[in-house]
Symmetry: C2
Subunit: 210 residues, 2 copies
Amino acid sequence: MLLPKPTLAIVDDHPIVIEGLTKLLMKKEKFDLIGSFTNGMDFIPFLKATPVKIVLLDIVLPGIDGMDLCKEIKSISPTTTVLAFSNHQERSGIMKMLENGASGYVLKDASIDELMFCIEEALNGKITFSKAINDILIQAQLKENRLTKLTKRETEILKLIANGITTPHIAEHLFLSKFTVENHRKNILQKLKAKNMAELISIANQQGLL
Amino acid sequence: MLLPKPTLAIVDDHPIVIEGLTKLLMKKEKFDLIGSFTNGMDFIPFLKATPVKIVLLDIVLPGIDGMDLCKEIKSISPTTTVLAFSNHQERSGIMKMLENGASGYVLKDASIDELMFCIEEALNGKITFSKAINDILIQAQLKENRLTKLTKRETEILKLIANGITTPHIAEHLFLSKFTVENHRKNILQKLKAKNMAELISIANQQGLL
DNA sequence: TAGAATATAGCTGTTTACAGCTATATAAGA
DNA sequence: TCTTATATAGCTGTAAACAGCTATATTCTA
């Protein structure tokens, strides 16, 4: 290959991960691995001295964490592409990384091919995620889209209410105490921010919950 | 005109109407007016003896009324076209005539051109109505289509209910007694056949009343 | 595995809803 | 003009809804 390979650095507090990644990346011969670091404090001076095209960045790090480090990296070298590489699966962490300038998020149990693909996509300016992360984000999206999240039981009871069945009858029908049904009703009212059953059914209809 | 004109008969208990119609029809020279009768008993023997293509038939007649006479005419001579020509504006009478085989219904205050047009349409096998009758039928249709007919007040209150406003507050808002609002609610419940407010709002939503 | 969410059950008031009636004045329609 | 529909107001019960709490067992899930 005549073109110079993109320079790549790893920041991960697990030496084993660094070791494994190094070997795999060597095999592929697509990137020039110019440095591995187990914390952000060591990496920052290096970045200031050396141009780095792409950084694989863990979230959990001793001292400054990945989220903050990402921000720092982008302010020092905006042309550097940061790709989160972590085991963290919380949506909040993922979002924070993206807000701070990361170009994607790859879960550590992703395959090497998946990782290579994501790196290339990131280098092309795209935001990419490994499959597992994608699933998490989509699911979160779905939950959020469903403006209101009623449980199975609540949905069941809501439908009965919409059919004009009263609390005592619902209790009978579902073999529950009337107190239980009443509690479910209270919860539904709260979740949909309704003052009473009439408004509840209105809102439920608007949101297509029936 | 070389073609034989269609034969036409009038059955109407008002001599003035017969007189006027006769003159107008003569002018148009489109039909061969072969007989005028002020009651059905006189007309039936005539019809049995003479082929009549079209009959202008009033509803209010001495002895046998227009609805029954129409049926009789169609059973004696199915090829005879009967066109109701009356002042009656009740939907039930119109429907009865049609059920008994009439090909249309022209109100007596229709213009002569309207009448001529309707006769021709009827001869062509169509069911026609003068404009005023059409309006009556359409309006009746609309009323019936609107599966449920709520009054202005009821609709107003229904919307407030759907917004979660309780009876006492609705009463305040509309400067009414709470008893009045309660009565409106009862009426709405009955009209929409709902057991309670929850079901009411469901049904109202289904019927697009909100 | 610990914490969060869910489903369950309970108690006590107060407020609303609902059923069942009567009644009257006005407006709209046949 | 006469009947029907509408809008108004009233009364009396009973049933249901609602607000505000506590509490526990189970199930999800990070």
